[in-house]
Symmetry: C2
Subunit: 489 residues, 2 copies
């Protein structure tokens, strides 16, 4: 994370509301859920990512003297509130779905249980971080899926939306399944493989292409990928590369990891022709890498066309999630604690759009796996106090079409609670795995989905149902609000 | 700028190429151009932004001991090169088009003249910063144009692609013409107005909507904007807001800056109905603000429908430039100095796509204004040593269709050289204006464009022509390369 103090990385309204709570009902403990409503790219799932940076943010949440002076200069905050801010520490609980987990719409990825002022302040930064990294991890998983076992390298830094987008975007892309990134800072910060060879400018800085290739091969014989499209791919680039490979072979230099990179032109045709030339010269193990405005659809199409590419550098479309550059996560009040009873009173936000009505209450999520093959059968959002028994039949139903019921037989399923404790009373109780460990987790997570959910066109929906008790709680709140509204008129 | 050391914010290949130059031809001085090929959003122009952060990056370019250790751990760099890096300082010249300037495709926004190793290293970070901020400034200018004088507030932090994207995106949005941002950190770092009131959670945390409004109005009577769509906009939200405004009026509290915010529903209908209710209650000067997935097209459409909104909060679509989330800037080698003659030898990159062939040589750009009305007539890319005389006729021509010639009569035009010196021999010789000053510059810059260039559909192209000498240089290089290629076959 950048060492910049991110405490003021928030919307002004979080602070004006905080002052409002400070003056009126600061003591209340509340529950906020961060969730999203629609999978990016019209896909069947998303990948949760960004938690490690959320943890860093929460741990470092401090209003410096400069921050307080700045806020004072706005002339909207009173001294008692600024005094409170200067001593501010996050004291609440946070639960989260671990990074790398496959997730679905309406599931709280992060749940904050804290005094209302604290829970409100952290809204913006949590959303910024989670929205960004989950977006890029999801896009990367799609690209990796399209490549069917070929390597995907993240090459997008120069087109990222600023330095953080490049650094944390590459982190998220690794979580989604990339084998490496060109981004050296990400490599340093997160101990992930960095990759890359040379650009057109390298070739152009020499008197001719052959000399440029030859110089490069002399320097990096162990990992020698030559960019062949600066002048003319098939007439100049590939023949010059072959000449250099032949010279290396003749000189007895072991050719281990070597090949060419295509960065323009018709990649299907070029890769097939280049393959023929390489094979004819006896370089059957030279790989062909490609880059050039790639995304999951283009990779899938090139593979269907029988292209001879086995390594893909994906830039702009991955690092910006170009066809869907925002994740759309929101952060909604779900419950307020009644301090006299200690119980959470569920809260709901209405909307003319049924999909936008929130799920009330202090909740958790259970994932239901089929014991047989380990695939996900459904997810169940329940109230936090509810318990379930794998030794009993379970009946779940679609919350928008309640007649659609499914019985899951006793002892055929396994339950997993997705939300895990991350902060307790302001102390961090969670240790993030390394990025490469999260990557492994994420690859296994994707195995819990059927191909039908991973496909790009009309993916099968994984059901996210509500427990009976949560469904009744929600229905009663809606009924009550509707009654109140009719009585007013 | 984040205080994180951004020296390793680079692609690995910049460093492998650097080591290659170090071993072969490190002494050469080169010219690199950062330019883009296509205006974002199919528009007629772009806004240059991000230079201040590029300057910070160049000034702070230092490989720390940790950086060197990390690079050593990759086992691809030799000790003499790592030793060179540990003493690295940027020693070259940089020229740039000032922030806030309207720019067009193929114009170098930044020109780097430096030893080849240094010029290569800075490629990635320069592109990351310039691509991001120019993208968002351009999008903001479009949204501001659609609003025809209404205020645009930047509200996108939570949907930005990470913290920097939020912070520098808001900076760029201000340059493009927004009146303020919700992003407090941007306000603090760049001294720009911050804005915002409350969210649905504020309303939901009170027993009822009226109490929430009333409490808010008591706290912030001087700038009281009430969010009216938590439950039912026209039946509950607006009547409750009016009740609070009436109570304020009755209590003799001066109503200065006050109004309502709509965040969902049909904004055309809702705003007209809300306007009627407010007017009927005697609150003709209450403003109506709106937010809800807005962009330039929706704002233009709502205004055509006679909506009653005068203030717009624009989030996701602005901060991500959702319909075009990458600027596409590239960084290409243009010339190499012949150390014996001291002259720059032009270099060109070929491509099967004519538009992708680069403009060779050490260049500059002249903007040609019509003296009469101050609008831009055309831009002229020329070689750096060329001079032009406003007292003489000027004949310019389309470089792709050279028969399209225009004569500009002597003394009817004014020339302005767009590239200004920013670094000389590694020293910064440029002082960035404040963001609000750049915003003023940018608003004036947009006045140098005809509406026909600013419109969203089929905007009129501003011609970017090549000087006679540059055109001849380019043609000769292309001819030579074509001849070489034919001879080889």
């Amino acid at each position: 994370m950048s060492t910049m103090n991110l405490t003021l990385l928030t919307d002004l309204y979080e602070l004006t509301m905080m002052q409002g709570y400070f003056k009126s009902h600061a003591a209340e403990t509340v529950v906020f859920d961060a969730f999203y409503r629609k999978n990016p790219n019209d896909g069947g799932f998303a990948i949760a990512a960004g938690l490690e940076q959320v943890i860093d943010y929460i741990k470092n949440l401090r209003f410096s003297d400069d921050d307080i002076s700045y806020l004072r200069s706005l002339h909207i905050f009173e001294e008692d509130f600024l005094e409170y801010l200067s001593n501010f520490r996050f004291s609440g609980d946070i639960y989260a779905i671990p990074e790398g987990t496959v997730v679905f719409p309406r599931e709280p990825l992060i749940k904050v249980v804290a005094p209302i002022m604290e829970a409100q302040l952290v809204e913006t930064a949590i959303l910024t971080i989670i929205n960004h990294q989950s977006l890029i991890a999801t896009k990367a998983a799609r690209v990796v899926y399209a490549a069917k076992g070929d390597s995907i390298m993240e090459f997008g830094l120069r087109r990222a939306q600023g330095p953080d987008a490049g650094v944390y975007g590459a982190r998220a892309a690794m979580i989604g399944g990339c084998v490496g990134t060109s981004n050296v800072l990400t490599g340093q910060l997160f101990d992930v493989p960095v990759m890359g060879t040379h650009a057109h400018s390298w070739i152009m800085s020499f008197p001719d292409e052959y000399t440029a290739f030859r110089t490069y091969a002399d320097l990096y014989p162990d990992s020698c990928c030559l960019l062949v499209d600066t002048y003319d791919t098939l007439k100049s680039g590939v023949p010059n590369a072959i000449r250099v490979f032949q010279e290396m072979r003749d000189a007895g230099i072991p050719l281990k990891k070597y090949g060419i990179r295509l960065d323009s032109g018709d990649l299907a045709y070029m890769s097939k022709q280049a393959r023929k030339l390489l094979d004819a010269a006896g370089f059957k193990d030279a790989y062909i890498a490609a880059s050039s405005d790639l995304d999951e659809y283009l990779i899938q199409s090139l593979k269907l066309q029988g292209c001879k590419i086995s390594s893909w550098g994906v830039g702009t479309n991955l690092i910006t999630s170009k066809d869907c550059p925002a994740f759309g996560g929101v952060y909604k009040l779900a419950a307020i604690k009644d301090e006299s009873t200690g119980k959470f009173i569920p809260k709901i936000k209405l909307s003319e759009n049924t999909e936008k009505i929130t799920n009330p209450g202090d909740k958790t999520i259970y994932r239901i796996y089929d014991k047989n093959h380990g695939k996900i059968k459904a997810d169940l959002i329940a109230l936090a106090h509810e318990t379930f028994d794998e030794a009993k039949d379970m009946i779940i139903f679609d919350p928008l079409a309640t007649w659609k019921k499914t019985k899951i037989k006793a002892n055929t399923y396994k339950l997993r609670e997705l939300l895990v404790p991350v902060f307790k009373n302001g102390d961090c109780v969670y240790t993030s795995p390394s990025v490469m460990e999260i990557r492994d987790i994420c690859l296994k997570e994707q195995d819990t989905l059927w191909d039908e959910t991973k496909r790009f066109v009309n993916p099968q929906t994984v059901y996210v149902d509500l427990s009976d008790e949560l469904f009744r709680t929600k229905s009663e709140l809606l009924e009550q609000m509707s009654k109140d509204s009719l009585e007013k008129k």
